[in-house]
């Protein structure tokens, strides 16, 4: 059956059933909405409208502006997350003292509930009483009244920092687990051969963790592109729409304005674009799955 033997089906089944009922079903339904004019409200009827939503979307310049912001946000956050987390994971893989404490503390952003994270960072960025401005003032680096979240130029970088902060733990943990695949013997052998740190990294460590890096980066990119909760708490998409991420756009379209059909069309367009980007990024892994 579909190239699988009986054993394989048994292995897949426990995951397959809940996924089909609770994920694939709603997902297909949600996508189907993109071709209708579905709206909220019990009194409104729904009809099939073909590609109308997509035609409207093509001309929706606000959406495409927000799409560009979303790409900048997702690429920056994902890249910084990967670089910083890789460094941290390599450090935490060393036999340092208090390693257990460092590992636990490194996961702090993960342990803090999102609603609290947003409020905490708003406190940090508060122009009058925030610790960031306060510290900068004490160090005489700035006048100490920088307006982080409502300045047209600083708002996006400021929320990117929070995005990187919030996403680092899971990337770090995944990479740390991936580093366990690096055969110690190879390392030692390379060390004996007199290979430098960089050479050892590129020749031994990197090939071993590459699959994990690819996987987590792909997922991080999707997640970051799709996330908006944190940014919404921080800036509500302002100032002047400079931090209005596309998923926030879709969310508001669906839940605040009740335009389910149009929001679903946005969802599909975003999937299409991300899918193209990911296919390029993951072509090797996908090829491997095909063989």
């Amino acid at each position: 059956m579909l190239g699988l033997d009986r054993d394989a089906w048994f292995l897949l089944l426990p995951a397959l059933i809940p996924v089909l009922v609770l994920s694939v079903g709603p997902l297909v339904y949600g996508m189907a909405l993109a071709f209708t004019d579905a709206q909220s409200g019990v009194t409104r009827s729904t009809s099939f409208t073909g590609l109308d939503n997509f035609a409207d979307l093509r001309l929706d310049s606000l959406f495409w502006d927000s799409f560009r912001i979303g790409l900048v946000w997702a690429v920056c956050v994902t890249a910084l997350q990967l670089l910083l987390s890789l460094g941290l994971a390599l450090l935490l893989n060393q036999n340092l003292r208090f390693r257990w404490l460092a590992r636990t503390l490194a996961l702090v952003p993960w342990a803090m509930p999102e609603v609290v994270v947003g409020i905490m960072w708003r406190l940090v960025y508060n122009p009058d009483a925030g610790i960031l401005n306060n510290t900068l003032r004490h160090l005489h680096l700035t006048s100490g009244h920088t307006d982080w979240l409502s300045s047209l130029t600083l708002a996006l970088p400021a929320v990117i920092v929070v995005g990187v902060w919030a996403g680092m733990p899971q990337t770090t943990v995944v990479l740390l687990a991936g580093l366990q695949n690096v055969p110690v013997e190879l390392h030692e052998a390379a060390g004996i051969d007199g290979a430098g740190l960089w050479r050892r990294f590129t020749h031994v460590t990197w090939p071993a963790i590459r699959p994990v890096v690819l996987s987590i980066t792909a997922l991080n990119f999707i997640w970051n592109f799709n996330s908006f909760g944190l940014v919404f708490v921080l800036t509500s998409g302002g100032p002047g729409g400079k931090t209005r991420l596309p998923m926030l756009f879709a969310y508001e379209e669906a839940f605040r304005y009740g335009q389910y059909g149009y929001a679903a069309a946005m969802g599909l367009v975003m999937i299409a674009v991300i899918a193209v980007l990911l296919t390029v990024f993951l072509r090797n892994r996908l090829k491997e799955a095909d063989q």
Binding site: P18, S23, L88, A102, L105, V184, A263
Partner: protein, 305 residues
């Protein structure tokens, strides 16, 4: 990254220092010590960046309302008070909610990883249409706006009588965390050499025994990482819990926390910080207990064996 591939020290120390062409052994030790210091410094920078909001949370939780209104905030509360904790515990059923969260998140994490291990193994080892469809689903399900899924999902759950029930929430969390867990486990499974399994098969192990006694131990660090992920995701998850649970006694921690916030960004900061601190501690303890298992180092053992 200069610290990139520094070798595991004990093993190296146990070995007679190999003749180094360019530098004397003494210099090497010196250089290594400098490297060590650099590593600690880098680690410290990371920890300051990652953990300072927690310190700020602790500090806020012990401050009086008057101090919270100060324009010149200090790290150490000038007049520490337990008032916020008293208010928080008094106002909302925090401990009960924490227990709910623990049950739901714990169950969801275990079930999710339990069903994902065989599935991810199958998806890696038996490539074909189903694997491809699975990969596609994993990615698409993470890309599509949640808000458009929530209403049909709600209807399905209602037909299954899973609204307003904690088991229902567990099922949703399992499905919700599965894409990540499957996706990551696949990369860990892929790192297990097929030759090991073939060797086991030659030794007469069936597929099930191979999976249990050869593959599973090698996956340990990956399992722990994904388990942590599933637990934390479920522990922090908010929206499903909000719309699926109605009975106040069933509510989870993340939903209770929003009860300390008002309209237009207003928040009862002190009690919120106190409650948030209470919500953060269980995860941190869980991390502290599990982090050791992140590093199994079993693969090298297996290869040697």
């Amino acid at each position: 990254m200069s610290t990139a591939a520094a070798p595991v020290p004990e093993q190296q120390a146990a070995r007679p220092a190999p003749a180094a062409p360019s530098s004397s052994p003494g210099r090497r030790v010196l250089r290594r010590r400098a490297g060590r210091t650099g590593q600690y410094a880098a680690l410290l920078c990371y920890l300051v960046f990652l953990a300072f909001p927690l310190l700020w949370l602790v500090s806020t939780a012990f401050k009086s309302p008057r101090e919270l209104g100060s324009v010149d905030p200090t790290w150490l509360p000038r007049h520490p008070t337990l008032g916020n904790f008293r208010t928080a515990l008094d106002e909302q059923p925090l401990l009960h909610a924490a227990l709910n969260s623990l049950l739901v998140a714990g169950a969801a994490a275990l079930v999710s990883v339990a069903v994902a291990v065989p599935a991810s193994y199958a998806m890696v080892r038996f490539r074909g249409a189903v694997s491809r469809a699975g990969t596609g689903w994993i990615l698409v399900s993470q890309m599509f706006p949640l808000v458009l899924i929530i209403i049909p999902l709600f209807m399905v759950l209602k037909n299954l009588h899973l609204i307003d029930s904690r088991p229902g929430l567990v099922v949703v969390y399992v499905v919700w965390t599965l894409p990540f867990v499957l996706w990551m486990l696949q990369s860990y499974v892929r790192a297990v050499p097929v030759s090991l399994e073939e060797a086991a098969a030659i030794d007469g192990c069936g597929r099930w025994r191979t999976l249990r006694s050869v593959v599973l131990p090698l996956l340990a660090p990956g399992l722990v990482a994904t388990l942590m992920f599933a637990f934390v995701t479920a522990w922090n998850e908010f929206f499903f819990a909000l719309v699926l649970l109605k009975t106040p006694e069933k509510q989870t921690m993340s939903v209770i926390l929003t009860h300390f916030t008002g309209a237009e960004g207003a928040a009862d900061l002190g009690p919120l910080a106190a409650a948030a601190l209470l919500a953060t501690i269980p995860s941190l303890v869980f991390f502290a207990l599990l982090q050791k298992r992140l590093v199994g180092g079993m693969l090298s053992g297996a290869v040697k064996g």
